[in-house]
């Protein structure tokens, strides 16, 4: 059940990041509501996941899904740069965050 909540948490984090993109594009109330609901449900599910899974592991997986998902969505739907240097550096940041969360 912990893993189920964790994946839901990651998915809603992507929704939150999409909200951020929408705010940039339209700046309307609907975008802000999507951002709020996305992150609210994401944090809620993450807290539920952490009840059964270790905290560092949960946070690492959650960040991973959100960052990778957000980057893919940005490139596919919001014209963010696709160059390999950008993707590599985002990958390095992601690896460091996961490393820190798993060792702390």
């Amino acid at each position: 059940m912990g893993w189920f909540f964790l994946i839901i948490a990651g998915a809603f984090e992507i929704v939150g990041v999409i909200g951020m993109n929408l705010i940039n594009k339209y700046g309307n109330l609907k975008s802000y509501i999507i951002l709020f609901i996305g992150f609210f449900l994401s944090f809620g599910s993450l807290a539920l996941a952490m009840k059964t899974l270790p905290m560092g592991l949960s946070y690492a997986v959650w960040t991973g899904i959100g960052t990778v998902g957000g980057t893919i969505v940005g490139m596919l739907f919001y014209k963010e740069p696709k160059d390999w240097k950008r993707i590599s550096f985002i990958g390095i940041i992601l690896a460091s965050v996961i490393g820190l969360k798993l060792t702390s």
Binding site: M20, F39, G70, S88, L100, T103
Partner: protein
């Protein structure tokens, strides 16, 4: 561009404080302050994404928050020091600085600000 990267950094620093707030808040005032910091960090982050790509800003924001929390835990809350943590923090800095460099480059290529 630099101003917007400063916003990303400020949002990340605010995240360090609200992450501590989530961990240590034990009264209504502390929780209210934590919620306000969460709100503030997102306002600043969204401001930054006017120029910096959303996924780029979000990765750096998460990175600063995580590294900052680990550093504060070691210095203030007596978590054990380890070279592994220092290694990942340095790696993270390389990632952030590199990302900043290539973001300016690609923005120039497209003729954007």
């Amino acid at each position: 561009m630099n101003r917007n990267w400063a916003y990303v950094a400020i949002a990340g620093i605010l995240e360090i404080f609200w992450a501590m707030g989530l961990k240590y808040s034990d009264n209504i005032l502390a929780w209210a302050a934590t919620l306000f910091l969460i709100y503030l960090s997102f306002v600043v982050l969204i401001r930054a994404t006017k120029e910096v790509p959303v996924a780029t800003a979000y990765a750096v924001f998460t990175g600063i928050g995580t590294a900052g929390t680990v550093v504060i835990d070691m210095i203030v809350f007596g978590e054990p020091f380890s070279w592994t943590k220092i290694f990942f923090i340095l790696l993270l800095l390389i990632g952030v600085l590199g990302l900043k460099l290539v973001t300016t480059e690609s923005a120039n290529k497209e003729g954007a600000v």
